[in-house]
Symmetry: C2
Subunit: 453 residues, 2 copies
Amino acid sequence: MEKIRKIILSENEMPRQWYNILADMPNKPMPPLHPGTKQPIGPEDLAAVFPMELIKQEVSTERYIDIPEEVLDLYRTYRPSPLFRAISLEKTLGTKSKIYYKYEGGNYSGSHKANTAIPQAYYNKQEGVRRITTETGAGQWGSAMSFACNYFGLELLVFMVRVSYDNKPGRKLLMNTYNAKVLASPSTMTVFGRKVLEQDPNSPGSLGIAISEAMEVASQDPYTKYALGSVLNHVSLHQTIIGQEALIQMEKTGDYPDVVIGCFGGGSNFSGIAFPFLREKLLHKKDIRLVAVEPASCPKLTKGKFMYDFGDSAGMTPLLPMFTLGHNYIPEKIHAGGLRYHGAGVIVSQLLKDGLIEAKAKLQRECFEAGVLFARNEGILPAPESTYAIAGAMDEARRADIEGVSKTILFNLSGHGHFDISAYEKYFENNLPDHELSTAEIEDAISKIDITV
Amino acid sequence: MEKIRKIILSENEMPRQWYNILADMPNKPMPPLHPGTKQPIGPEDLAAVFPMELIKQEVSTERYIDIPEEVLDLYRTYRPSPLFRAISLEKTLGTKSKIYYKYEGGNYSGSHKANTAIPQAYYNKQEGVRRITTETGAGQWGSAMSFACNYFGLELLVFMVRVSYDNKPGRKLLMNTYNAKVLASPSTMTVFGRKVLEQDPNSPGSLGIAISEAMEVASQDPYTKYALGSVLNHVSLHQTIIGQEALIQMEKTGDYPDVVIGCFGGGSNFSGIAFPFLREKLLHKKDIRLVAVEPASCPKLTKGKFMYDFGDSAGMTPLLPMFTLGHNYIPEKIHAGGLRYHGAGVIVSQLLKDGLIEAKAKLQRECFEAGVLFARNEGILPAPESTYAIAGAMDEARRADIEGVSKTILFNLSGHGHFDISAYEKYFENNLPDHELSTAEIEDAISKIDITV
């Protein structure tokens, strides 16, 4: 009897609402604070850099938020996305468990980032914005915004983290092809970029620095707004279409996941797949674990400190209550550039604090090993970021086999690695260092910031 | 009212048979000839390099051939493939016509090549083969075979055309990731490769040379066979799953194509989409045009000579009746490496001779321009090869608008360009030469071969 390889939904089955977990959290996150007054910020404090509709979504406690027709229309170019059962990988592992993955790399951007790029560009256009600035790490978010902005008739300026800009020229060229301007960050275009370069002319950059640069430019022009690809509530909200679809697809398989896994940078792809399942846990007492897998070189969830910190390096954002390594921390140059962020989104941070989700950290070599095994069995070449989720899923399968049980494991394969192939080359050349951040280094990084609230 | 963006079929709707146009051709192709005796070859002449099941398919005149269960199983990892309506592109062009495209880039190999790589690997494995040798141009076919061979437990040795090997390191690395060995061709591994290098140490290579090298290695070991990614009948046969699906999908749109378009290298992706529609034309008098679009730098269909010629540079293959530029012709180094082949498959050649299909040649700059416009509107970054089909479709739409009519246009988007992004860079840098092969050059190329049958 042949096993099912994939579950495809029709366009009619695509969810027409995003799910907002703020409605169902037992403990709501603490409010973002104004860095000057240390008082909770209001919508007007964000209006300089974000359009009002996204600010409303950022603070909304409505459980479901309608997806605009124009966004649904563009979602339909690639959604619903497929859910696969990894039957070849299962066989090779010899596991008794079932491994499923939701694949978000099959769209123009090659990752889940399109899911929030499209609505963000749309809402900005609706409110008369002409230009967007943003940051990008590995380039997935920048690619996603490039097409979306061009589609809706917006200009886009991308600050791309220097180390990725140098190592992943393909992503830069893709953004150019979609009509975006791309600068290496730190750049000489901004006051903050120049300051960083003064201190370290060879700075590899970080997402925190790139965010500061993009925000600086956006804050100087009323027709320019800023867009963020992860961390914020409205970004996670848009990504919940992943989990909403996966719930319908898992139901069609007749299985239900014991554990749902996502890799973790700022939190958006993990939130996207996990929050709808967490709703089932919270509201319908489903017995399910939700596991975020982060790099050992950037372990904010497993070793960071829960505190108020800035989302960017320059300290331009509101103060956010989150697990952080300190907003000045510059992570090692691992190849999963999208996971090189110092902090975790406020919702995920609160959920972790409350024990509703789990986190684990992994070294990059083991993740690439898992990625290669996956590619040779399932065909899809995973993004370096996504290999952390694969390695996490394989850990769960191995543990279940040791315990002599069969689990149903679901992970989010957040993107493909076509533009990251040089990282695989380094893996095969045995030229991929493992970095594990020590407690002393973390204490040092956090001691460098001086925030009292 | 929202327009349909894509038509997805369920796995149950996936065709379970390939369509063999040899059954329905009004004039059958002339037979392949043994290069020594000049007599029609028999199955035994091919047995040294191909497994018997593929030889049977090569000469079969059965209208439909069952797809093995194991092949269907792996097809299901990515098939049925989507059919899109290019509504954003239509809007930007301001055309009255409807443009549809079948997208074959959404699988592990990034192109239609997986459709024949999987059955070829399967049949070889079934017959006890241990190792496969093959050629690859741009690397799509090599990538497709790499995963398929590894999946079925076969070793793979790929001779990659030098110019692509140097310009597309990503494709080489992808093949390595799927566990294949890749050599630049001409190589020093074979007698023929050494001979070519002696004459021209800087030879950019060609598909013809790479085929000779791969066949030379295969012919020396009973457990090693050779696999070809285009040109041959069984390859086109496997690709007909594209058109078989497209027929069902077009029916669901309520439209019927006036013209079906594919880019043209050796003929496999064009045949794949066109033959099932040609069947409808031949058997059910459907009024439909089938157009192959080739590069002006390698115009075998539009300017080549119909004659018996070799499929490879060394003259190891049988003599094939085909449109050719001469088997020693080394095409200019255009970026659509998959279209740099001197000849056309025998079925396509006969159909063109009989006026049942059409051909046109285009310059690469215009095709890249079409590709960029497509990417900015539809999102998908096309392979350089596929841009020829896009440009061909845009020509049809423009012509219909000039004539004041609305046509339904269907083209095959054979693959994505993620590993070809440096070619787009050259396009933006205005560093993409246009080559048009002159009649004198063609006569010269053909005069260099000495074949009498």
